[in-house]
C-alpha cells in the first residue's frame, strides 16, 4: 500500500480538473463554434496558454527527459525548433487569422478548401490531420499510463493504467470542450512550471552537487554523449529535424484551430516575443533526464520515457511522487482533450459533412460527441501495441502534418500560382512517402546504401517534404501551360 498517497493525489487532481471543465462550461451556449473555437474571444493570455499548452505536454515532460536520458544531445532539437516556429508564426499566423475570421472558418480543412475553392482538398487535409493526430494522442495516453502505473508502485498494471487515462480524457472532453482546455491550461502551466523547475534544480544538485559536476560526470562515463554523434542522429539529422518540426509546428489541426480563438491578430506577434523564453523550461526537463543517466541506468527502447518517474520514485516520498504525477496528468489531459476534440470535429465536419451536406448542426454536434470515445479507442489500441518512444511518435506525426506546409504558405500569397490539383498532388506524394517509409520501418541508409552520409541521416519527413514541393511545382507548371494554351487563366 506504499503508493496509496500518490494515487489519492492523482485522483484528486483529476477530479479537480473535471470540475474546472464543468464550471467553465456553465452559462455558455454550446454551439459548434462555441465548443471548438471558444467563440473567438480569447485574448493574449488564453491564446498564449492554448499555444503553450500544446507545447508543454507529456511529450516534453516525459518524452523530453526520456530522450535526454536515452539519446543525449539529439534531444536538444526540442529546444531549437520551437524558437524557429515562433519566428515563422510572426508572419504566418496573422494572415491565417484574418482570413479565418473573415470567412467564419472553424477548422484547418475549412481554410484549405476555402483558399483553394476545393472541398476535396478539405477532405484530404482533414484525413492527413486525423492520421497525424493518432500518434500524438497515443503518446499522451502512453504518458498517462506511465504516470498511473509508476505512481501506483505496481498496483495498477500498464494496460489498466492506459485505459484509466483514456477514460479520464474522454470524459473530460465530452464534458467541457475548449473552455475546459483553456481553464485547465492555466492550472496545468502553473503546476508543470513548478514541478519541472523544482526537479531540474533539485535533482542535479542533490545527486551531483551542480550542473557542471553532473555534465562532467556524464562526459566521463559516456564521452561525446552530450554532443551530436557523427553517424545516425548527426548534424544532418538535427538540422533536418529542427526544420521539419519548425515548419510543421502550426500545421497540426489543433494548433491551427487555436489560432482562430484569438481576439485580434497582434496577439500572435506578441506571443512570438514571449514564447521563445517559455522554451527555457525545457532546459530543466533535460536536466532531469541527464540526472537520471547515472542514477537509474539500464532503461532501454520505449522504456527511456520512464526515466523521470523512476528517478523521482527513487528520490522522493509517495506524496511528492503523487504531486509530480498530478502535474503529469494535467500535461496529458489538456493536449489530449484538444487532440481528441479536434480529431472528432474533423471527422464529422470535414469528412462526413462533405458526403452528407444536408446534416443539421445539431446532428453533427451529436455525432462529434459520439466520435470522441471512438477516437479514444483507436488510440488505446495503438498505445497498447507499444514499442516506440514518445519522441519517435511525435516525429512521426510531424512528418505527416508538415506536408501541408507548402500548399498553406503558397495560399497566403496575394496571387497564389498553385492550382488545387498541384496542392492535392503534393500533399498526397508527401504523405504517401512518409507512410511507406514509416510502415516499412525503412531508413534512408538502408534504401540508398551508397548515398553520402549527410543524405542518409536526414529526417524522412524532410525527404518527403522535398518530393512534395517538387510535385507541387511540376503540376503547377504543367497545368499553367495547359491553361495558357486553352483559355486565359482565371485567378483564384
Amino acid at each position: 500500500m506504499t503508493g496509496s498517497a500518490a494515487l489519492i493525489i492523482l485522483a484528486a487532481t483529476t477530479i479537480f480538473a473535471l470540475c474546472l471543465g464543468l464550471a467553465a462550461r456553465r452559462g455558455k451556449d454550446m454551439g459548434l463554434e462555441q465548443w471548438t473555437v471558444g467563440g473567438r474571444g480569447f485574448g493574449i493570455v488564453f491564446v498564449f496558454l492554448l499555444l503553450a499548452g500544446e507545447i508543454y505536454t507529456t511529450f516534453t515532460f516525459l518524452g523530453g527527459s526520456g530522450y535526454a536520458y536515452g539519446k543525449g544531445a539529439p534531444t536538444y532539437y526540442i529546444l531549437a525548433y520551437g524558437a524557429l516556429a515562433y519566428v515563422i508564426s510572426y508572419w504566418m499566423l496573422p494572415p491565417i487569422w484574418r482570413y479565418a475570421n473573415q470567412h467564419k472558418l472553424i477548422s484547418q480543412p475549412d481554410f484549405f478548401s476555402a483558399k483553394y475553392d476545393s472541398p476535396a482538398l478539405g477532405v484530404l487535409v482533414a484525413l492527413v490531420g486525423i492520421v497525424a493526430l493518432v500518434p500524438y494522442l497515443v503518446l499522451q495516453f502512453k504518458g498517462l499510463g506511465i504516470i498511473v502505473e509508476l505512481a501506483s508502485y505496481g498496483a495498477v498494471s500498464h494496460t489498466v493504467a492506459v485505459w484509466i487515462g483514456a477514460i479520464v480524457v474522454t470524459i473530460y472532453v465530452m464534458v467541457s470542450g475548449v473552455h475546459g482546455s483553456a481553464w485547465t491550461a492555466v492550472l496545468k502551466d502553473i503546476a508543470i512550471l513548478a514541478v519541472v523547475l523544482f526537479l531540474g534544480i533539485y535533482l542535479p544538485f542533490h545527486y551531483y552537487g551542480g550542473y557542471g559536476a553532473m555534465f562532467t560526470a556524464i562526459q566521463t562515463a559516456k564521452p561525446g554523449f552530450l554532443a551530436l554523434p557523427s553517424h545516425g542522429q548527426s548534424l544532418a539529422w538535427f538540422d533536418s529535424t529542427v526544420l521539419l518540426t519548425a515548419l510543421g509546428f502550426f500545421m497540426w489541426p489543433h494548433s491551427f484551430g487555436s489560432v482562430y480563438t484569438a481576439k485580434h491578430e497582434r496577439v500572435f506577434r506578441q506571443n512570438a516575443i514571449l514564447l521563445p523564453l517559455y522554451q527555457l523550461i525545457l532546459l530543466f526537463v533535460f536536466f532531469v533526464g541527464f540526472a537520471a543517466i547515472l542514477q537509474v541506468p539500464g532503461l532501454k527502447g520505449g522504456d527511456i520515457d520512464l526515466s523521470l518517474f523512476y528517478l523521482s520514485r527513487k528520490t522522493f516520498s509517495p506524496a511528492v511522487l503523487g504531486i509530480i504525477g498530478g502535474a503529469g496528468v494535467l500535461t496529458a489531459l489538456v493536449p489530449g482533450s484538444m487532440i481528441m476534440m479536434t480529431g472528432a470535429t474533423l471527422a464529422v465536419n470535414n469528412v462526413y459533412r462533405a458526403f452528407r451536406p444536408s446534416a443539421s448542426e445539431a446532428h453533427r454536434m451529436r455525432l462529434t460527441r459520439l466520435l470522441v470515445p471512438v477516437v479514444a479507442l483507436v488510440a488505446v489500441w495503438f498505445t497498447l501495441q507499444g514499442g516506440r518512444t514518445i519522441v519517435a511518435l511525435l516525429l512521426m506525426g510531424y512528418s505527416f502534418v508538415t506536408q501541408l506546409f507548402p500548399s498553406l504558405i503558397m495560399s497566403l500569397k496575394r496571387e497564389n500560382p498553385v492550382p488545387r490539383e498541384a496542392a492535392f498532388a503534393g500533399i498526397c506524394v508527401g504523405v504517401a512517402t512518409v507512410a511507406v517509409l514509416t510502415l516499412t520501418d525503412a531508413s534512408l541508409a538502408h534504401l540508398f546504401p551508397n548515398a553520402p552520409e549527410v543524405f542518409q541521416d536526414l529526417n524522412i519527413g524532410i525527404v518527403a517534404l522535398g518530393l512534395n514541393v517538387i510535385v507541387l511545382a511540376v503540376v503547377t507548371l504543367v497545368s499553367r501551360a495547359f491553361a495558357v494554351r486553352s483559355a486565359p487563366a482565371p485567378h483564384a
Binding site: 544531445a73 515562433y86 548534424l235 526544420l243 485580434h264 523564453l277 527555457l280
Partner: protein
C-alpha cells in the same frame, strides 16, 4: 524588408551555428557547448522578435485590431 532579414538570423544561428559548436567541452556556465549555444539563441530570438515587433509598422496603428488590412 529589414525585419524579414532579422527574422532570418535565428535560422542561421541555430541551423548553421550548430555545425560550428557541436562539442561538449569546455563546459560553458556548466553546460555542454552545443546546449549553451542553443540556449543563447533562445534568448537572442526573443530579443530579435521584440526588435522586429518594435520596428514593424503593422503594430504602430492602434485602431486596426481585428480589421482586415
Amino acid at each position: 524588408m529589414i525585419i524579414k532579414l532579422l527574422g532570418l538570423l535565428p535560422f542561421i544561428g541555430i541551423l548553421v551555428g550548430a555545425c560550428f559548436f557541436n562539442r561538449v567541452t569546455p563546459l560553458i556556465f556548466g553546460l555542454p557547448v552545443l546546449l549553451a549555444w542553443l540556449l543563447l539563441w533562445l534568448l537572442l530570438t526573443s530579443a530579435i522578435m521584440a526588435l522586429v515587433y518594435w520596428l514593424d509598422p503593422a503594430n504602430k496603428k492602434p485602431t486596426d485590431e481585428g480589421r482586415p488590412t
